[in-house]
Symmetry: C2
């Protein structure tokens, strides 16, 4: 077992603890993980990442999703550099904005129009605002435990939140039609929208794909009431289906939120919608200094070019299947029971009888020492930059990590 | 008078109208300006911008603020490119985050810590959330007509907003101590914070610097009640004073929101605060996929290097003073009465007896034809990339534009 160097990381943590609250914040805060997890990273290339101490890992987090094609993808980065030479945040958008909007509308069946932002939270918030503007109603149905961003109305932490931030949210259980119906009934004639994740990818629990019946029921409730079906495709967008994650179910949303992977790591988010919501989208005022910056849009266009040319999803599915099989086989060999759920290209890997993910944490710590970066309670991400060799290395590392645990 | 080419812009507008609600949205929507205002831009360099038809302008909007040092600043762009070769949105921050936080804490007297985001709205929202988390109270005093972002709690448009989004906001008049006191009284023991812009820079009205008495009163109300004084320095940050816009007044906020200029056009925002609010900042959960991306942080560090080496503010003030004098002199010469208000480096230029800014619009349209881009009802921005020659060209263009109007 190679010992991990961590002196640079430790020194940075000490410095950060003085000038950043808690030393780090948000989803990338490493202090809740194992002692082996690095906090600071130096570089990425394809499906690999290096921490600041020079330790190299096969990266199963992919920047928490943005890395779809591989870090430093040559075509994407060349497009970004070329655009940066001309301009980024100018007095208005560049022509790439129109081209990108056209490409997304052509690719995404429910989309007649697009608006761009920076954060996934910007996109989900805008969907909700448009739904309310279009319907003149207030109530929003959301699955309990789902993550839709980190603004006051949706952040998982109550600190600093007032009751009014969530005054019109009504909870239901994902994939539970009876609870969805109950929530819709509670909203009554004030139902503005149903906000639903592409699949159930809550923290630290088994993932669930939406059942066809559940998706149909979401659609039917909105059709019957005139409310907006809002698909939160921020995390899953472009990893499950090129036109939106519910396309395989045959259910199309009225509005959808996108971010993470759409510009292969450049900061961009998008709201797509159908013509029924175009007027409302025109009336809502949401904007930001960098929302029309051209560089991430040029990167997104290059990302779409790659997606058009290569079957990126099939590649991730093939590798993800091999990874799932390999994990399962090695776990069994060493006497561990794993639960691997959700799409193979966005897997959740949990141990049985491990409610606090203590074993998962130890497993991830051991994996780090064997050259693999993953998270004990958040879904993982594969990317097109991963290779069969990477996956073989992960499975071999898992074999050794299980041996370390046993 | 040179005729402006606009066929490419017109074609892009026609295409955009099909795939973007209203053809464009937010603050960069050109359709509310004159027919001469281009919607789409091709490139920027220093203090100049080119629209998609190749028309060149001295740019007095500076990307609506982000362009502080000049578009395509060599040192900033080199730092960004170098960082992009290593990594941007990785599994955690890079070392540049710590260095940037240290540099900001060293530069900004009230700041003991920093958190980073993408949008100015993220920063103002986070300030409010931290103030509420720290105090356990709810009420927020905000100046009527002030712009603090475009989330539902602060967007200037009511479309899609519910009453609860603003349940705990209490308005006051900027620079009016009696109305501030009245608002504080209305908040009573539930006062969480006073949110105030660096100066009064509301749309389409004369700008006002804060009076010393007003700033002191904001501070005194917070000191007496334990509420947070929150300075919204998103628009003015680094243009008025290197350590925060209220430093010349001797009044320090508890929390401040920054964005626009801090990375010279790269998408970044920051929240700074004092130690009294560190615990609350640690508890609040606000995050985003790209908030710790390394490229904008490398750009911000390079921006700070330039600010340390050159007196960028003095340069902008000198040019801004010459611009103000030149505008005034040429207006008088042609029989027009202008009101030029606010800091000379962020001027508002309005015509007397022009409540709808119709004359302002015509003036801006004429200026465009003479090679100057400006806005008829939003404050302008100067940058370090502007030269004496640029300003002389603007004044000459103004002379001709006034002649066109007269």
């Amino acid at each position: 077992m190679a010992a991990l160097r961590n002196s640079i990381d430790a020194a940075l943590r000490a410095r950060a603890s003085r000038v950043v609250p808690g030393g780090m914040w948000g989803h990338q805060r490493a202090s809740g993980l194992s002692d082996a997890h690095p906090q600071f990273f130096d570089r990425g290339l394809a499906g690999r990442i290096w921490d600041v101490d020079g330790n190299e890992y096969v990266d199963l987090m992919c920047g928490w999703g943005p890395n779809l094609l591989g870090y430093g993808h040559p075509q994407v980065e060349a497009a970004a550099r070329e655009q940066a030479m001309r301009g980024d945040a100018l007095d208005g958008p560049a022509a790439v904005m129109v081209e990108l909007a056209e490409r997304l509308v052509a690719r995404i069946p429910h989309a007649d129009w697009v608006l761009f932002q920076k954060n996934g939270t910007d996109a989900t918030t805008l969907c909700v605002t448009i739904a309310r503007a279009a319907t003149g109603r207030r109530k929003l149905l959301v699955a309990r435990g789902a993550y839709h961003g980190a603004a006051p109305w949706c952040t998982p932490s109550p600190a600093g939140i007032v009751a009014e931030d969530r005054a019109h949210l009504i909870g239901f259980e994902y994939n539970d039609i009876a609870s969805l119906d109950q929530a819709a009934e509670a909203a009554g004639s004030d139902l503005a929208g149903v906000l639903v994740s592409a699949f159930r990818h809550d923290l630290a629990r088994d993932q669930e794909m939406p059942t066809a019946a559940f998706a149909r029921r979401c659609r039917a409730i909105c059709d019957a009431s005139g409310a907006a079906l809002i698909l939160d495709d921020v995390r899953a967008g472009f990893r499950l289906h090129p036109g939106g994650s519910w396309e395989p179910l045959g259910i199309r949303p009225d509005l959808a939120a996108w971010s993470k992977a759409i510009a292969n790591g450049h900061a961009l988010a998008a709201t797509t919608g159908g013509d029924r919501f175009r007027d409302a989208a025109t009336k809502v005022y949401a904007t930001g200094s960098f929302w029309c910056a051209a560089v991430p849009m040029a990167a997104a266009l290059a990302t779409l070019d790659v997606l058009d040319r290569q079957d990126v999803i099939a590649h991730m599915v093939a590798l993800g299947s091999a990874l799932r099989d390999g994990f399962a086989e090695r776990a069994t060999r060493h006497g561990f029971a794993l639960r691997q759920t959700g799409p193979v290209q966005m897997p959740m890997v949990l141990f049985d009888d491990d409610p606090q993910q203590a074993r998962g944490r130890d497993f991830c710590a051991a994996l780090l020492r064997h050259g693999v970066y993953m998270h004990p309670r958040h879904n993982l991400f594969l990317c097109a930059g991963h290779t069969k060799r990477d996956i073989a290395q992960v499975i071999d590392a898992a074999d050794r990590a299980f041996a370390d645990l046993a």
